[in-house]
Symmetry: C2
Amino acid sequence: MDSAPPAPPSSPSPWLPFESRRRARDEKREAVLRAAVQLFLEQGYHRATLNEVADRLNITKPALYNYFRGKDEILFECWSMGAELVDGVITEINAGGGSGLAKLRKLVHAYATLMATDFGASLVRFDLRDLAERNAGVARAAKRRIDATFRRYITAGIADGSIRPCDPKLAAFAIAGSLNWIGHWYRREGKLSPTAIADEFTVRLTDGLAAEVRLQMTKKTPRAPQGRNSGRKATGKKRTGGETG
Amino acid sequence: MDSAPPAPPSSPSPWLPFESRRRARDEKREAVLRAAVQLFLEQGYHRATLNEVADRLNITKPALYNYFRGKDEILFECWSMGAELVDGVITEINAGGGSGLAKLRKLVHAYATLMATDFGASLVRFDLRDLAERNAGVARAAKRRIDATFRRYITAGIADGSIRPCDPKLAAFAIAGSLNWIGHWYRREGKLSPTAIADEFTVRLTDGLAAEVRLQMTKKTPRAPQGRNSGRKATGKKRTGGETG
DNA sequence: ACGATATGTTACCCACGGGTAAGAAAAAGT
DNA sequence: ACTTTTTCTTACCCGTGGGTAACATATCGT
């Protein structure tokens, strides 16, 4: 709809139409997911109806069944999109080098950023009990992998001396808890930009574990030692649309 | 049902029967809430039916309407129970003295402990959008109060020097996120006792903020410098029933 | 003992929303 | 131009579960 295809003037190859047709289908499928995840997040899975999803796409409910077997499968696919994003992040970090602490910091930063996206938030805001048993199993496995990664980086950090000895399990719980919660309070319209949040959380969640001196400056120099932070206005007082709970 | 009344042999006063009758009613009301909160947590609000709630109490669905106006009101009352617990904790801490950091630590500890209870968990596992608008407003207000308390303690701590300068808002988000998440992963059958969790989180979530040296010992002395920790077996490897996500 | 009230039961209603059947409309293939 | 396949619509089904009405029964005050 919004992104016009590259418009191949007239495809001579009989393959291209086939490919483009498959692409069109995949694009529609994804459009459904985008509309669905948005609505599910807005209203909650059970309050959102397939009719509403369809309405947003200017189609009717049964048309959705050309792309998905049912509501719960749509939910699962939304969830999967988020999981794939995380998996991508993890394999990328694994590919690179660095101490356990460095890897943990990368993961925290990327994960925090993801939590500010629709598909990322769906990872923590959707209830796996709404999935068919088969899909729920897949999702649980993915969660375990993510959890294991947190713990592995921490364990590695302890081994290589970059992280002070601690219980990796509880440390992972604490860190992941803070991060997951972002998915619940973050609002696009709020004052905090995703990168600002990610920068801050990277420091706050890991400097308590670091073996060496703290990253953060003790004086009033605002914050975020890393680079890139978009336009933000320091510690504004007004409502930003979300509480801790 | 399970707790026989004190059995006043024959109450001469006409007041007592009245009182005892009201008590009986309140007890039943609370029994409904206990059954409901348990079921709502187990299955999720939407999947749980009033018939199931009634079944667990050996009554029938319409009987519930003697005590509540509807399903959403039951949900709200469950939520309120949790909120009252937190409010109690807060007023108690406010009554006592101590630095901002000390108060924050007390709050973290108590809040973490609460998250391991049914009514406490309901604070973070129920969706306020399921409430009638009026009740949702009350709940939002309560959440704001709790959030404000976290920030107030942090701000006070910065002012009195017990906490290093930082953004109280983000610090509160980070801490509350970790704590709230407990309500999602804690399992009664797991190996981690509520007090063990609370002890650990109290240290881990606040020592990054403390102005003075860390509480936690750097060496391998297991953990939990505070007193009381129930029977626990160190860092067991096996599944404890819950991942970070 | 007796009427009033509170409490509970059986039987029912019905809105809601996921899912399906049958066929129109649009595209693709030939 | 024709058939075939894909895509989408209209019309419908129906299980589910919150909520209600009418009636039964226990409880209490007097």
